[in-house]
């Protein structure tokens, strides 16, 4: 099981702040994960329709979309940051 956490409009569109998911073995990279999640329902499809803009953190550190997710305890998905 991998913990997924969502923020800002990704959280709003998916409709929950976090969840634990069993990911299929075919999901190797962050990019694979985004493609996989978009198949889980309309709300996921809506949240992830432009995967290029989705920022991802593995174990609370920023990663690129080609990063393998092996060893991830927690994966965060969110829009570009707008703090400060």
């Amino acid at each position: 099981m991998t913990k997924l956490v969502y923020f800002a409009w990704v959280r709003e569109r998916i409709g929950k702040p976090d969840e634990d998911l069993d990911l299929p073995a075919s999901v190797v990279t962050v990019g694979d994960l985004l493609t996989h999640l978009a198949t889980l329902g309309e709300e996921y499809e809506n949240a992830l329709q432009y995967p290029d803009v989705i920022r991802v953190a593995i174990n609370q550190e920023h990663v690129e979309h080609d990063e393998p997710i092996a060893g991830a305890r927690e994966i965060g998905l969110f829009p570009p940051m707008t703090g400060g």
Binding site: V5, G76, P80, M81, G83
Partner: protein
């Protein structure tokens, strides 16, 4: 020289600038320059009633610490504080505070500026606008200008 540990906080409450500067400088005589940056919520000519600040707990502090340590190393800072608020913030209220201390002025300016530029693009915070007329709330879009501002340090 002992390593400098930044003061990093993510909190709902407002901060006290003077108290934070005093905490960095009290009893010291080796600091010649203190630069503070306060970021405030703008009212956008009355159209905004508040900002709602969301953050990624844990990662926000970790990312701010990482940025702060980069700045301390790069500009040989003698003290650094970064505080970011979350929750509902009204026009005129503080959002973020960065303080950099150095023997010399340019390093203090650069240190605070560097932290703000990286904080804008890398620290996991998101702003949602509450419109004064009650119209649907929108998430603030990331600005290309912020990416460009960060690139000046690369």
């Amino acid at each position: 020289m002992q390593p400098i540990t930044p003061t990093i906080r993510v909190e709902a409450d407002d901060f006290d600038l003077q108290a934070e500067i005093d905490a960095l400088t009290a009893g010291r005589t080796d600091i010649g320059a203190v630069v503070s940056f306060s970021g405030l919520c703008r009212g956008e000519k009355g159209t905004l009633s508040a900002l709602e600040l969301e953050h990624y707990p844990g990662m926000a502090e970790a990312e701010m610490t990482r940025i702060a340590e980069l700045a301390i190393e790069r500009f040989s800072l003698m003290g650094l504080t970064a505080i970011h608020r979350f929750g509902k913030i009204e026009p005129g209220e503080n959002i973020v505070l960065v303080i950099a201390c150095s023997p010399h002025r340019q390093a203090a300016f650069d240190g605070a500026n560097f932290v703000m530029d990286f904080l804008k693009t890398s620290a996991p915070f998101w702003k949602k606008e509450h419109a004064a007329d009650g119209s649907p709330r929108d998430w603030v879009s990331a600005k290309d200008a912020d990416d460009k501002a960060q690139e000046k340090w690369l």
